[in-house]
Amino acid sequence: MSINPPSNRLWWKEPIHGIELAWIIIAFLWGLFMFFFMIAWHFIGNQNLSTETYRVTPDQFVEKVEAFAEEYPLLDASGDPVDIEGTPVVSPPAGGDVYMLGRLWEWWPALELKKDQSYRFHLSSADWQHGFSLQPVNINISVHPGYEHVFTLTPTQTGEFGIVCNEYCGIGHHAMSGHIRVVD
């Protein structure tokens, strides 16, 4: 009985049943496989989120984002800056740096990216923690104030994509949104 002391005081000397032993071996090998598969994906896969991180103060990061938005504004045919719902759209050069700021309660600025071009994303927060959640792609990354997270991102689809916030950030959390457009 599991609720009584083992009747055999030398229980650790009892042999293990074949069924149990076989299952232990299977479970152990499967664990090893899953462990090494994570490592292997760093060599064979294309979805390994970079962990490159820099310390930054929220003010410094806001300055960088604003400079980025001023440098590469998307212009319409008549040369005027384009915005989506009041948020300026920035069109960075392919292969270039992209800055994205999470703050109460928006993702700023909006972006126009090119399909199959890679960008160096810089992600941080001006205030509280936020959750960068790109939909419907379903890429979800935590965003911390004070840390600038740098990773490469290559869109593989064209279309309009939404960014929602999936880290609770106060009463306006559910209204926090952003936009990325991917064109050919």
Binding site: S2, I3, M38, T51, Q135, L153, N166, G170, H179
Partner: protein
């Protein structure tokens, strides 16, 4: 010298009273019994409060209903987490620890006064936390990530609660020493006690992490510390937040073994294997803080891989071992009980009308299939980015903590009420149905939240239609369907939970008295339950074909779902 030592520790004064349990033949000490009762009652009260908050949350997240306004939603969600994830579970666990030490070892509880002090602190902490949350100044979610700041009472309340719980854990350790010293048992402690020791050791680590992070955060909220590093907070906080769930795992697996022993007379297939699996928990489960940091900046990939895999999945291996040995022990016992036909007669003829058994077995199945598999997927370094902070995460942990732990604790309560409160279950027919109602609801909550999460629905979010947002984003219609089904499942689970609370309270207050001679249990224990010493179940050839089939189905599901997720990941935008 020996005499003095023995006299000092083993003194049995007039205030130490034992009674003999007529159903199990066990010696039960009065103060242990009273403390188990007090902790179990407190647990059920906070389950009622937290469960009510949970229903409010689910009905608000049902898009067609959206019951509460946003402010109330976030407030109630904070309260839901604290009351059920912390207060209900930890109060019940303290009761389990006292049961697994004093009752199973047949000894007195060490330092009952300290145990009452611990209980008092836990009650004060839990009431304070509810006050702080309902006051409206501490809507920071259960995780309270800085730099968002709660009222200082909120952090203090959690610290007070944790100190109380820690005292309870040390009373448990003290009781083990008392039992050993007074020689109330022979040889090694029972397997269930071993599992409880595992839970208690993890609890010390957990509560230490809580103290390490909550004390500075409290000082910060008082203005005595200028800032709390957000990444450091998350790392250490989850040393408490995730490890506290590992206490649950160790505790509810110990309960699976206990219920299987008491209801069908199961004994471990092999003491060595089951204890080895618990030992793996002690060694590796604490690494799981990393599960919450896979989508974070800062930590290196090698750190993430080592920690998130519990050191090469050795703790996952341990859970998979219990996944074989618990149903295996039940099958072996049922075959001894005479149900030997075919592969599954042992299962079809199991006491499904006994809520302790049905709750326990559903907890086992849902914890493994819904909670365990999805936990490994979520905790895979690269796969996490698909689901991090979506409602898939609450889906996963409702499978582990609600369908797994809570259902197991409810099942155990159907044994605690008659054996410790000495009152029988008052309405057996309702009690028969209760685990099914709650289990169905809890399973539904888990599945539908996970389904919505794969469609990107965020957790802790008042309005996925995003009416107030500048940039509209339209979630897939299936996501709305899933959230609606989640709301309906929550109603089922809440009905099951309410029924449980009514049954427990009514049974304790007005159930048939069992302290009279000749009283019988409506849900009888296994005949051999009163055996003082067990026999080791080593038949020369162990035959558990049904369990082997169940485990094979589990493994197939696990491998299939694992690779399905890698397939999804391979189609994601590239990170290079």
């Amino acid at each position: 010298m020996t005499t003095i030592d023995h006299g000092a520790i083993g003194y049995v004064g007039p205030d130490i009273r034992y009674r003999s349990c007529p159903f199990t033949g066990r010696r039960i000490e009065r103060s242990a019994e009273l403390l188990i009762r007090a902790n179990a009652v407190a647990a059920v009260i906070f389950l009622a409060v937290g469960g009510f908050f949970g229903l409010m949350v689910a009905l608000t997240r049902w898009p067609a209903v959206q019951l509460l306004p946003a402010e109330w939603f976030y407030l109630v969600l904070t309260g839901h987490g604290a009351n059920v994830l912390l207060f209900w579970i930890v109060f019940f666990e303290i009761a389990v620890l006292y049961f697994a030490s004093a009752v199973l070892l047949g000894c007195r509880l060490a330092t009952p006064r300290w145990a009452w002090l611990g209980f008092g602190l836990m009650v004060i902490g839990a009431v304070m936390a509810n006050y702080a949350v309902l006051n409206g100044d501490s809507t920071v979610m259960f995780t309270s990530y800085p730099p968002m700041m709660a009222e200082h009472w909120f952090y203090l309340s959690l610290i007070v609660f944790a100190v109380g719980a820690l005292i309870g854990v040390f009373v448990f350790f003290g009781t083990l020493v008392v039992a050993k010293d007074e020689q109330t048992y022979e040889g090694s402690v029972p397997l269930v006690t071993f599992g409880a020791i595992t839970a208690a050791i993890i609890a010390v680590f957990t509560l230490a992490c809580g103290a390490i992070i909550l004390i500075p955060t409290w000082l910060w909220s008082l203005g005595l510390i200028s800032g709390i590093d957000t990444l450091m907070y998350k790392l250490v906080w989850w040393g408490m937040g995730h490890s506290s769930q590992q206490i649950n795992v160790a505790a509810h697996i110990a309960i699976w073994y206990a219920i299987a022993a008491m209801v069908v007379g199961a004994r471990p297939l092999s003491e060595k294997v089951s204890r080895f699996a618990f030992l793996m928990y002690i060694l590796f489960l604490q690494l799981a803080s990393a599960h919450h940091l896979l989508a974070e900046p800062g930590m290196s990939s090698s750190w993430k891989i080592i920690n998130t895999s519990y050191m090469m999945y050795l703790a996952v291996m341990a859970s998979m071992i219990h996944g074989l040995t618990v149903p295996g022990a039940i099958e072996a016992a049922q075959r001894r009980n005479g149900f030997t036909r075919g592969m599954f007669e042992w299962l079809t003829k199991a006491p499904w009308g006994n809520p302790a058994f049905s709750g326990m077995f559903m907890s086992l199945v849902m914890f493994g299939f819904l909670g365990g598999i999805t936990g490994v997927i979520l905790g895979t370094e690269q796969l996490n980015v698909l689901m991090h902070n979506t409602i898939y995460v609450p889906g996963h942990f409702h499978a582990t903590v609600v369908a797994g732990t809570t259902l197991a604790f409810m099942a155990m309560t159907y044994l605690v009420v008659p054996l410790v409160f000495q009152r029988d279950i008052i309405w057996p027919t309702l009690a028969k149905w209760q685990p099914y109602l709650f289990g169905l609801g809890a399973g539904g909550i888990s599945l539908f939240m996970m389904g919505a999460g794969t469609l990107g629905v965020p957790r802790r979010h008042w309005d996925i239609s995003m009416v107030d947002a500048a940039h509209q984003y339209e979630f897939a219609p299936a996501a709305y369907l899933m959230m609606g089904l989640n709301g309906m499942s929550a109603i089922l689970a809440a009905a099951g939970g309410l029924l449980f609370i009514v049954l427990v309270v009514a049974s304790i207050l007005a159930g048939p008295r069992l302290d009279q001679p000749g009283a019988k249990l409506v849900f009888p224990l296994h005949d051999a339950g009163a055996q003082a010493v067990s026999e080791y179940g080593s038949e020369a050839s162990l035959k558990i074909p049904g369990t082997v089939m169940l485990v094979a189905i589990f493994f197939f599901t696990f491998v299939l779902y694992y690779f399905v997720n890698w397939k999804y990941l391979s189609e994601l935008w590239l990170f290079n």
